[in-house]
Symmetry: C2
Subunit: 328 residues, 2 copies
Amino acid sequence: MKLATLKNGDLDGRLIVVSTDLRHAVDASPIAPTLLLALQQWREVEAPLNTLYQRLNRGELSNAFAFDPGQCGAPLPRSPQWLDASAFLNHGHLMERAFNTDPIPDFDTIPVMYQGASDDFYGPHDDIPMPSELDGIDFEGEFGVVLDSVPMSVTSEGALKRVRLLVQINDWSLRALGPREMKTGFGFLQAKPSSSFAPVAVTPDELGDAWADGRVKLSLHVEWNGERFGSPNGREMNFSFGELIAHAARTRKLSAGTVLGSGTVSNESRAAGSACIAERRVIEKLDLGEIRTGFMKFGDSVRMQAKFDDGRDGPFGVIDQRVVKANG
Amino acid sequence: MKLATLKNGDLDGRLIVVSTDLRHAVDASPIAPTLLLALQQWREVEAPLNTLYQRLNRGELSNAFAFDPGQCGAPLPRSPQWLDASAFLNHGHLMERAFNTDPIPDFDTIPVMYQGASDDFYGPHDDIPMPSELDGIDFEGEFGVVLDSVPMSVTSEGALKRVRLLVQINDWSLRALGPREMKTGFGFLQAKPSSSFAPVAVTPDELGDAWADGRVKLSLHVEWNGERFGSPNGREMNFSFGELIAHAARTRKLSAGTVLGSGTVSNESRAAGSACIAERRVIEKLDLGEIRTGFMKFGDSVRMQAKFDDGRDGPFGVIDQRVVKANG
């Protein structure tokens, strides 16, 4: 099942169901007005939403309309919690070298994770206002899960059963601000503005075998200003989403609608390229002896789309957006 | 004006107006069903809420009822963002010695702040479920501000004008988990379960001269299992709330209803005592050569109440609650 959210001026937008081929959509608000409300009563709405999805795919709905990602907000324009891990250790180890920070203790055995802003997620084609090019504007391509309510101290196995939807995320980052915030020990705040989401959130069955071991085994194709930047695959994630959820819920329950991200997708192979600029820069330093790539400028665009191993487009649709100068 | 939220089974509860003496209350839901909605349309609801408050104080309302803090949730049971600073440098410097962590860079000139869970705040008398006594269960008494929407890159002066309400907070902390999370650079997650709030949120005018320089100049009287623990005063805050808000909004806008905390209230004078156990422990180590105080056990209670300099009770009501073993 594929779900998206049309902007309508309300904080949570309006829920629509999207066809498998992303060409058609239908209003789902008679079943649940918003995706957040749907997640809060998933047991009641899953079957009716799925019936609507099947009928949409069969072309049976007279009220279907053309799906326009440009009218979409993030699938959840706001969420109870946004927790972002760094579950690709290859990325983490490279970033330690980029930021010249101390090795993270127990990095290989205990997930690291920060809590970010979840009140103002960006849609897939929204312009992204940033205050200054000097902040080191960077994208971070990643995958995420949207959760049902999760009890405190859940096991990894139990946690994985609480995954309701999968999403594709651009976790905007300001690299000039990150190292200082890491050194405070309090973690990222200014360095992590609101994140962007691909238009479509999907139930895990939409991925077939590409959802396995609590991992999204798709490659994430990233283009910066129309040029290929990287296409690392989610299968190299060093912690499963089950392990990440259990880590997050160790001392707290999680509300339905919580979004948990993988951290930047990153592969050992240099041929995969990168899903963020900071990683390319440290690789340039290591392999070429000097940094050759700058960060984003106002007007720059980034495009992200997941792909299956056989080359088919992933199910999430496309993030394609520009960085602009913030007002004021 | 004094506002509180009655639990009614909904995520945001139901808004009530509370009398100056905290003895009476009246349903405010005809004006705004919840405090979150009131904050989202403050310009429209402030005057009618204030009229209701004045009539309640004059005893003119036949539908007034006895105010019972035991029926209250947090004033905002959920909030778009919860950002917590560490703005009392005395506390921060002691905690560096307690945790044996490196000095925080620029700690005296740039605020430190983490983002915590804001989807599940505790009411003033709720039992607090914790998974294990081994986690180093601690309270942290602090003051906070509730904000109107704040534009990105606001100045400190402009930021202070966006303060709508003041609140009193117990920021629950798990000290056995904090140092490792600080060393990751990603900040607190497991170490910071949901926070608790005193029942009443107040407009700044309720504090009179005790709201000045962007600081809550009240002492916070903390009792642990019925014995005095400390009564540090908010006037020694090293950054104003205006400065803290501007720091938070440097690269993001803040949604109406965002809550920003001061961090543990802490004074230079040893006579003031402490508002958290970790601070007392490091003072014992420094002054007595050994730690004598353990952390909280299941069944322990903590009570927090603000007071004016002349001994009058503060406006927020009382936090008084027990730690219990979490199920599961």
